[in-house]
Symmetry: C2
Subunit: 218 residues, 2 copies
């Protein structure tokens, strides 16, 4: 099966690439034909993508998420055409099975992010919903990034997505006690020189303009 | 055509519902058969959804977005099954034409939100990307909301989504000068008693825990 792997997700349907293979060769390995071959390639790509999310639970959480996003964006960059076709539903060979594989990747990503936020499987509904909406935002941003010729630079996009996660945590902590506890436990792990410090320092002037929104004696 | 409208988006494919119609009746109005009927129903639902986004450009922008989200969530609530099937790609009758209709709704939503942020068609790439990622987050949150039996209450979900937009604006303003100008122009329109004030007041304790991220003389 190794010989069939390299194309992975990288063609909208693998079928174009598979056209270079003789029909007997395809059916020898995949009795279900090209659809089965595509699903096998997608599953292989999904496993590779899930590996991107793995990160030791050590060091400032924002730096861990930064490394996860670096690997994720490298994957998107490498598999651009297939990634875009798959997530846009433009795949001729999209089925409920391929959708299930994509959902499995999203679930794995959410579990990993929740782990780094200190919650994991025990996370409550609001924190979980927040992480899943952030993952949807990351996906949407990746698709726009591919559409716009991979602008801005991957590192800039990555920093902005980490910033998004931090402010979503803050906004959710404002009304959800569980998220507030998670944020209180995460903040001491962050430093002025890391992503959280960089964002906090840049937010000071923005928040300064919002002073009229606070009670005068607040 | 009116007689065919009420089901709108509300069945995964309209076809189940259309099974109650005689074949001659379907073909009389839709020579393209049930696929054409489904697309017509989807187009009608899309037009109805696009109308939800219309909002006079007056009053605090966060209150305008609140009203838009109220109408949007009422639409999601009403068309739950069809909305979910359509966006999950679980529609048997999904085609490039139905995907184009969904994308048209997303584009219309982005243009309306950009208008209320004071930018509209002239918005630069980062602000536009931010609004589109927020819309993706809103969509994802709606699907999760449907999955979870419409919990939390629509008004709570709506307030949280407005909070998300505000903090995304702040985080984006931190690195994008255009967004920073937009935020500076928006903030004077907001009041301590409105959604922006409510969020600002609730963020004070969260941000207090981040004091170590700022330079001591900052």
């Amino acid at each position: 099966m190794e010989e069939l792997r390299p194309a992975g997700l990288n063609r909208p349907g693998t079928t174009e690439w598979a056209q270079g293979l003789s029909r007997p060769l395809v059916y020898r390995y995949f009795p279900g034909g090209r659809q089965q071959l595509y699903e096998a390639a997608l599953r292989s790509a999904a496993e590779q993508l899930i590996l991107c999310f793995g990160e030791p639970p050590a060091g400032p959480p924002t730096e861990r998420v930064t490394r996860v996003l670096d690997r994720y964006l490298a994957f998107v960059d490498e598999h651009d055409t297939g990634f875009s076709a798959l997530l846009r539903g433009g795949c001729v060979v999209e089925t409920s099975r391929t959708s299930a594989i994509v959902d499995e990747v999203r679930r794995a990503a959410a579990e990993q992010i929740l782990l780094h936020l200190g919650s994991g499987a025990a996370a409550g509904p609001r924190l979980r919903m927040m992480v899943r909406t952030w993952i949807a935002a990351v996906e949407a941003a990746s698709l726009i990034w591919l559409d716009e010729g991979k602008q801005p630079a991957a590192a800039e996009l990555r920093d902005w997505l980490v910033d998004q996660l931090m402010v979503l945590l803050a906004a959710t902590a404002a009304t959800d006690p569980e998220t507030a506890s998670a944020v209180a436990a995460l903040l001491p792990l962050e430093s002025a020189g890391g992503p959280a410090g960089r964002l906090a320092q840049r937010l000071v002037p923005v928040l300064g303009e919002a002073a009229h929104l606070l009670p005068e004696d607040g």
